[in-house]
Symmetry: C2
Subunit: 205 residues, 2 copies
């Protein structure tokens, strides 16, 4: 089969096709044969450009982290640190809801089964986390959150946020989530409230 065009960046096109297929049909459709057929080439392109399917998926995950970072980074900084934290959490959740399969692969394929992110790729993922750390630091500087280790507090917030996101995508949150009041907002609010009281308490790190 002749090439679809003289498009030079086949690697980029494969990643775009993979992102589309993942978003529309889920991880099970992420096969070398499917992607290369869609891109008008043969399976060998996966190996010349990535080295195999796991490496291609890893590239997809790295892209996902980069976009998540950009999404959270776009949240403006105001003079209300708590509102900023809430806005960052909302942006995070919105990204996960907009790309559910991608989020599942990002935090599911990372797990024991298939592969592990390289150190550099983990750094990219954690850049988004650093944004949250900065937000917590601003809240501490403003006295809205008890002073302590911002990384620990940010880790707690992220943990709760990630847990809610995972449950929401599993569909299990419907069992425990009150659709009237919601669960995420009280969860974050109570966590922030717990971070305020009892100065020198257990939580601020």
């Amino acid at each position: 089969m002749a090439r679809v065009s003289d498009e030079p960046d086949l690697r980029r096109r494969l990643l775009d096709v993979a992102a589309d297929v993942l978003a529309e049909e889920g991880p099970s459709a992420l096969t070398a044969r499917r992607l290369t057929r869609e891109a008008g080439t043969s399976t060998m392109a996966v190996y010349t450009h990535f080295g195999g399917m796991p490496a291609l998926v890893r590239a997809i995950v790295a892209d996902g982290f980069a976009r998540l970072h950009a999404r959270v980074d776009a949240v403006p900084v105001t003079d209300d640190p708590v509102a900023d934290l809430a806005a960052m959490a909302a942006a995070y959740r919105a990204h996960a809801l907009a790309h559910p399969h991608l989020y599942a692969v990002m935090f599911g394929a990372t797990t024991l089964g298939s592969f592990r992110l390289s150190h550099e790729e983990q750094q990219v993922g954690m850049a988004a986390f650093d944004q949250l750390v900065d937000g917590v630091r601003r809240a501490m500087d403003a006295g809205v959150v008890r002073r302590g280790d911002p990384a620990s507090v940010a880790g707690q917030l992220w943990t709760a946020l990630h847990g809610y996101t995972m449950l929401e995508q599993s569909g299990l949150h419907r069992v425990v989530d009150d659709p009237e009041t919601g669960l995420l907002q009280p969860l974050m609010a109570n966590l922030v409230a717990g971070l305020l009281v009892d100065p020198g308490g257990p939580g601020a790190g």
Copy 2:
């Protein structure tokens, strides 16, 4: 090939083999050929007893929920409701750490990719959640947690616990978790603290 024995309960043996293989080699080793070879039969046994691989995995997941329920149910009830909640959280996390692949399949395979639990199986999973609701109710009765909807509060606790468990198994918690102080204990403590203050506040449901 002759049968390994006249063992009648081949279905049970397949489930046991599947649990072993899952625990030792992860979800990617959960193949019909592998399991039936290990059990000394042919792939047809999967179809006569389960109807297919997705149904077999579903049975594994249902078993996992039942065992998780039993594990949390074994936590004794004392006169310290907060300590009971902490003990339940510890038991939950211990189960997840003892069976990491199983936990991943329980909350990962449930997701968009492959299948969905039946309503009845969801009920089994949620029985463990009801235990947590009871624990929260006792804490409310004792005045240790501000009175409100126990299910909402239990949902918040479970969400945080699940988020920590997932991150711990992904290995990403190493990036944000302080090995000296830990992350889960302050997270739960701050959440409980936030549930105490500001009567009539946002969180108690």
